[in-house]
């Protein structure tokens, strides 16, 4: 079975370039603006879209993404509405891969089977769940794979060669390499270390490897895109969104453009990268 994610990486391989992956929080700062932003991403140059599922207690996120989640929750976002948003996006775009990223509890409370069925029918392609390591694969990973969704795993600098096979065993779509030990929004890793880590992971898998955490500028995105199959940017986009809000934290006429413009310049960076490592 090929998913939109597999298809997208196959296309990119033909074009000979790496993916630009964007992360934004669903419902930030309100459901309508958030959908408008997501709709603008492919045109601005996003190849794969990650959408955060807001959670009150995001234990692996820094202050920017924590605040984005709280803005979304305050704006009335729920997991059900996040899936509605995906449906809204899919009305206009049936090819850009969509990955939901977040924490397990809201899914557990929604009900795993119901969530997987609803996510699949809404047009979700993959899941990244921060607090579900391979040790808990029975919870969601295995059912998600059965439901035809990709389960994208995080690998980190602490995932050594001994552990990598366990982490990769049920991973599909791509591998998300977290380039630092730390939370989102922290400093970036240098690209030499990233290159070594990607090479190490590639010795264990044929899956594409995308790298995230700490990428903020077109130059940094380009440097990472030269080492990996994709560069993920989250906090920088969330910050651009935040900076466009009014003093009450409400969207302004500039909000969608603020995010889209940054996406466009980061995408330029990724597209300027020399052929990615294979």
């Amino acid at each position: 079975m090929t998913t939109r994610i597999d298809a997208r990486f196959a296309e990119l391989a033909k074009e000979g370039r790496s993916a630009f992956v964007t992360f934004l929080m669903a419902g930030d700062p309100d459901p309508k603006t958030s959908l408008d932003i997501i709709k603008a991403l492919p045109k601005a140059g996003a190849d794969i879209i990650e959408i955060g599922m807001p959670f009150t207690d995001p234990m692996a996120d820094g202050p920017s993404i924590q605040a984005a989640g709280l803005r979304a929750l305050k704006g009335g976002m729920t997991l059900r509405k996040t899936l509605e948003m995906v449906r809204g996006f899919r009305k206009e775009d049936d090819t850009t891969p969509l990955v939901l990223m977040g924490y397990y509890n809201p899914i557990y409370i929604y009900g795993v089977d119901k969530f997987l069925a609803d996510a699949k029918s809404a047009g979700v392609d993959g899941l990244i769940i921060v607090d579900l390591p391979p040790e808990e694969d029975d919870e969601l990973c295995i059912p998600a794979l059965k439901a035809g969704l990709n389960f994208i795993r995080l690998a980190t600098p602490t995932t050594d060669d001994k552990r990598l096979p366990a982490v990769l065993a049920n991973t599909s779509g791509f591998v998300y390499y977290v380039s630092i030990t730390g939370i989102t929004g922290a400093a970036a890793a240098d690209s030499k270390a990233v290159g070594d880590a990607v090479a190490r992971i590639k010795r264990h898998t044929k899956l594409p490897v995308c790298v995230g955490f700490g990428i903020r500028t077109p130059q940094a995105a380009r440097a990472i895109a030269e080492k990996a199959n994709g560069a993920v940017v989250g906090t920088a986009l969330v910050d651009a969104l935040r900076d466009s809000l009014d003093t009450q934290g409400q969207a302004t006429s500039k909000t969608v453009a603020a995010v889209a413009d940054l996406v466009a310049s980061l995408a330029q960076g990724v597209r300027g990268a020399k052929q990615a490592a294979e």
Binding site: D57, D131, P133, E135, L154, T158
Partner: protein
């Protein structure tokens, strides 16, 4: 409820850290290798007689154990029912039961070669105990504490700083214990290479709930022996307050397979169970937070709700996973006490016995005042006096001033 009752209540968790449906290891990949290392290091320590010997030495001469089992004669007379014994954990060095667990974890951290210790704290008792043992063993110590708790437990903040710890006020979320734990986890993810996370209660990812329980079980083991000496038999009932549930688990665990012993955990009912409270079993349901599946306060979307308790140490929207399992199997009965009931119990124990309890422990005393009168005079009831009330005196003074106005 209780679909299949186990032969023993004392064999959990399984190798994946499950107590029935509860527990587990719901953490970010960055932490997983370290958690597996910790599991190994703890198993090795447990199997090493020299570890136990060394720990017993510190428990005796540094902590001051065994803590007395004291017959509360005037409280017993006042309530006119069960014979009430207080397990005097408040007499431990640092003023609460928390030190039992911290000593154990610091000794494991030393075996693992970790030089930097982090902790979360609510009331500050766990933070104080951690700062104390870090001073004793020359380790760097960083304590995360919700900004609300920094204000209401000021004496403990000064103590931690005097002991050389860095106290970080946490401004995110509700600025109480839950957020302190989030922030400690964020620190851990960032500094995983040199840092040991000393969790203060029987919660978090496996092996913490088991390890903390084991270190706290000294409370119940001593109680068994002391009651045997005092009365020649087992107690008839046990009562303890529950934040995450470590003082309770420490008292309960050695008695779980003695069916004649009734066991009561007391959660914090805050303003009352229909309003803001911290009683996750009474008012919550099963979910996943902070590394384990357990009862949690949350809304229909799975978002964690604010807890409230007058006592910072109970102000947490969850409970240790083993308690969730003991609730579902029916082995332990979970009750709750409101802020006002705890305050009244604080005054009562201070006036009758000359022992101001920690506001946390006062929740247990509050339920004793309901349970004891309904039981015969030969009923032996043990209540865990998990901490002393000194830290709460500024807060209580403010509250009483407010009530007079």
């Amino acid at each position: 409820m209780n679909p299949k009752l186990p032969n023993s209540f004392r064999t959990g968790p399984d190798e994946r850290g499950h107590f029935g449906n509860f527990g587990g290891r719901f953490v970010a990949e960055t932490l997983m290798p370290l958690i597996l290392d910790l599991e190994k290091a703890y198993a090795a320590a447990k199997a090493d007689p020299s570890f136990q010997t060394e720990m017993n030495g510190y428990l005796k001469d540094y902590v001051g154990r065994p803590s007395p089992l004291y017959f509360a004669e005037r409280l017993t007379e006042h309530l006119g029912g069960a014979k009430i014994y207080l397990k005097r954990e408040e007499l431990n060095h640092t003023g609460s039961h928390k030190v039992n667990n911290v000593l154990g974890q610091i000794m494991v951290a030393r075996r693992m070669g970790k030089k930097r210790i982090i902790a979360e704290t609510g009331a500050g008792q766990h933070g104080v105990a951690t700062a104390t043992l870090c001073a004793r063993f020359g380790l760097e110590c960083v304590v995360y504490m919700g900004a609300v708790d920094v204000a209401r437990q000021a004496p403990n903040v000064f103590r931690m700083e005097m002991l050389g710890a860095k106290v970080v006020p946490v401004q995110s979320g509700t600025r109480t214990l839950k957020d302190a734990m989030n922030e400690a986890l964020r620190d851990w993810v960032t500094n995983v290479h040199n840092t040991f996370y000393c969790i203060g209660t029987v919660a978090g990812p496996h092996p913490y709930p088991m390890m903390v329980r084991d270190f706290q079980s000294v409370i119940g083991e001593e109680t068994r022996k002391q009651m045997q000496e005092a009365e020649g038999r087992l107690p008839d009932s046990l009562v303890a307050c529950i934040g995450g549930g470590s003082n309770a688990m420490g008292l309960f665990h050695p008695f779980l397979d003695d069916p004649s012993v009734e066991i009561f955990g007391v959660e914090a009912a805050g303003h009352g169970l229909t309003q803001l409270h911290a009683a996750s079993i009474a008012g919550g349901r099963a979910g996943v937070l902070h590394g384990n599946r357990t009862y949690l306060l949350m809304d229909d979307d799975g978002q964690i709700q604010d807890a409230h308790s007058i006592s910072a140490g109970l102000d947490y929207p969850g409970i240790g996973p083993e308690h969730s399992w003991l609730h579902e199997t029916g082995r332990v009965t979970y009750l709750s006490a409101t802020d006002d009931e705890a305050l009244a119990a604080f005054m009562l124990l201070s006036r009758l016995e000359g022992i101001p309890p920690a506001l946390e422990s006062a929740h247990a005393i509050a339920k004793v005042t309901e349970l004891a009168p309904k039981r015969p005079k030969d009923h032996l009831m043990v209540v865990n006096l998990s901490g002393r009330g000194d830290k709460d005196i500024p807060q209580i003074t403010e509250i009483l001033k407010g009530k007079k106005q």
